[in-house]
């Protein structure tokens, strides 16, 4: 528990009747960072957001905000603000009044309100739109109004509930940059909820990957992508080839009938494991030079690369992302470096996983 924590969840549980939404969540959010809660719908990520905002109450456990227990404090007295998935703008008010809402509730001086609203609208590039009605704004503009309306209150934490899901791809990518830039400029803690792994990887300092009411893994985007704790995380974040293997000894793993050098250690000898190889780490080469031989089954052009699906002699499927074309039906070799192999143990908890990584990385 460092002094920099702004939000702490201590054994937080949430259930409706017999329906358990969150099982024993422990988490710590530090000041000034961009956090993402990532997971499929129904995994409880929005519930965590609602608990922080105060829209629902925890069944068990304590939630602290700025060091104070906030379990019983209503949302209007918490120094957090939310950007909603459907924006939840007030259609009977114009842009100015929407943004000024929170300040008016606080009974601020009119001139101060004017100044602050103008400033925050400039920040989201909506200067000159004050008098517009909400119905006259496009989806992207509404999004910005919603962000401005939350930010103008200068919250300690900004909660974003899948705010980009209603935008088209191009706009979504632009907004990712803008949100990230905004967060870094303001230094406010952002908690972003999404089911889109690309969004999570692009924007976050820390990602919490969730599954069925539990946090499966947390870490920086690079950590989570390169060292997923289990099959679920590896599958959810990015594309991956996952095959069964055996850990012969430290730094040596065997799969699909060969033994390879790798960078993982700290497991029992001959332990059954799963091995992850990312499609972009596999390089197409000749059969002689390759570490693996596959027969190309299908090839799709994806724009940035070709997505090639091949099968090895044992019938394992291999996905390769390559900028070079392959011939469908031909045999090709696949080459990869020892550090491209990531070994996952079955049923390892996040704590055990972190401890194991530390034990051999320090050597």
């Amino acid at each position: 528990m460092t002094g920099n924590a702004i939000i702490e969840f201590n054994h937080v549980k949430k259930q409706y009747d017999d329906n358990v939404i969150l099982k024993d969540i422990d988490l710590e959010i530090e000041r000034g960072k961009f956090y993402t809660l990532l997971g499929p719908s129904g995994c409880g990520k929005t519930t965590i957001l609602n608990l922080v905002a105060g829209f629902t109450e925890a069944t068990e456990g304590t939630i602290t905000l700025n060091g104070k227990k906030v379990n019983d404090i209503p949302p209007n007295q918490r120094t957090v603000n939310t950007v909603f998935q459907d924006y939840a703008l007030f259609p009977h008010m114009n842009v100015f009044e929407n943004v000024a809402f929170g300040l008016r509730i606080k009974k601020m001086n009119k001139n101060v309100i004017k100044e602050k609203v103008a400033e925050v609208l400039k920040m989201v590039q909506l200067s000159g739109y004050e008098e517009r009605g909400i119905s006259e704004m496009s989806g992207g503009q509404r999004q910005r109004v919603a962000i401005a309306r939350a930010l103008v209150n200068e919250p300690d934490v900004l909660l974003l509930d899948e705010p980009l899901s209603a935008l088209d791809l191009k706009l979504r990518t632009d907004m990712q940059y803008e949100l990230r830039e905004l967060q870094q400029r303001l230094g406010i803690t952002f908690i972003f909820v999404t089911h889109d792994q690309e969004e999570a990887l692009a924007m976050s300092d820390i990602i919490f990957v969730m599954k069925e009411g539990e946090i499966v893994q947390s870490g920086t985007p690079v950590d989570i992508y390169d060292e997923p704790i289990n099959r679920y995380v590896a599958d959810f974040i990015g594309e991956s080839n996952i095959v069964k293997g055996t850990m012969i000894q430290d730094y040596e793993v065997s799969f699909v009938g060969h033994t390879f050098e790798c960078v993982d250690a700290g497991m029992r000898p001959n332990e059954k494991v799963e091995v992850v190889l990312r499609p972009e780490d596999l390089v197409l080469t000749s059969v002689e030079k390759g570490k693996l031989t596959v027969q190309v089954d299908t090839q799709l052009f994806r724009g940035v690369h070709y997505e090639i699906i091949g099968y090895d002699r044992d019938g394992n499927e291999w996905m390769v992302h390559s900028t070079k074309k392959a011939k469908v039906g031909s045999e090709v070799g696949l080459y990869f470096e020892p550090e491209d192999i990531h070994v996952m143990r079955f049923g390892e908890s996040e704590q055990e996983f972190d401890a194991r990584l530390e034990s051999y990385e320090e050597e």
Binding site: A53, F55, P74, P75, N76, Q77, V80, N81, T82, F84, Q85, D86, A88, L89, F90, P91, H92, M93, F101, G102, I105, K106, G128, E131, R132, E136, R149, A150, N153
Partner: protein, 277 residues
């Protein structure tokens, strides 16, 4: 082919309007009849209109009717709106549906029964029949109308707006006054006008609960018609029809004015944005 079909539909429309408006026009037409009956038109006269304006009793009844309508619809709107909000936020679906059904039963039950039951109640508790009893019963039968007009607006309202308002620091009262009420204003206004017209032309309930010395227009016209219709009634009806017509036309023009004002401000703003670019 398409054109022929179009003509048929026009013809149908004209027919419907004739059926709807002919009796009123017939009535108005004979209000100018010198002959004093509605059998044959013998000559033009303003006589009955003069009689209406000279009839102090009739004028005071018109004012009474308007007063009851204004007051009852106002109070019913306040009570009904709060009631609708209450029903909307009942958590249990079954309770909510039951409350809704109770509201709807009042809507469809015949006026005669409502009037009779009010009469029984007022006499039972010893309430003096007159202005107050009429007002109370009008409020009572107007509330379900208001509830019925306001509820759909509440259902249309985006519930996350309320969450957002709470998130931005609003307490319950502020949520009500700044978010809920402005969002359902069209429903409230519609409810008010519906209640107003219902009160204005109610006969059955008023007939039961009105006492000596207090009468509304519909009851008065009924009792006069029983003695043989005087053309004064025709003249009064013509005036009221004209009054309603002016209201409708006035409403139309206000709406038009608001629309063009909105459009103009939008254009002005667009010009500003273009200038900036």
């Amino acid at each position: 082919m398409g054109q022929k079909k179009f003509k048929w539909s026009n013809l149908y429309l004209i027919f419907v309007f004739i059926v709807l408006y002919l009796p009123i026009l017939y009535l108005i037409f004979y209000s100018f009849n010198e002959g004093g009956t509605m059998n044959s038109f013998t000559g033009f006269t303003w006589e009955y209109y003069q009689a209406v304006f000279a009839d102090k009793r009739l004028i005071s009844i018109v004012l009474n009717t308007l007063l009851v309508a204004l007051l009852s619809s106002l109070l019913a709107t306040i009570i009904g709106t709060l009631g609708a909000i209450g029903i909307h936020y009942v958590k249990k679906r079954q309770t909510r549906n039951t409350l809704m059904s109770f509201n709807n039963v009042l809507m469809v039950s015949p006026d005669v029964i409502i009037g009779a039951s009010f009469l029984i109640m007022f006499t039972f508790v010893g309430f003096k029949l007159g202005f107050a009893s009429v007002l109370l019963s009008h409020i009572a039968f107007s509330i379900p109308i208001v509830v019925l007009m306001v509820l759909p607006k509440l259902q249309e309202m985006n519930p996350s707006m309320i969450t957002a308002a709470r998130d931005l620091g609003a307490n319950n009262l502020q949520v009500l006054s700044k978010i809920i009420l402005p969002s359902i204003t069209p429903g409230i206004l519609a409810g008010y006008f519906m209640a107003f017209t219902y009160s204005l032309d109610d006969f059955a309930v008023t007939f039961f609960v009105t006492g000596n010395g207090f009468s509304t227009l519909s009851v008065e016209i009924y009792s006069r018609a029983r003695q043989g219709v005087s053309l004064e009634i025709n003249a009064l009806s013509a005036i009221m029809f004209l009054f309603a017509l002016i209201l409708v036309v006035g409403y139309y023009f206000i709406q038009q004015y608001n629309m063009t004002k909105k459009q103009k401000s939008r254009e002005r703003e667009r010009a500003k944005v273009v200038d900036l670019l």
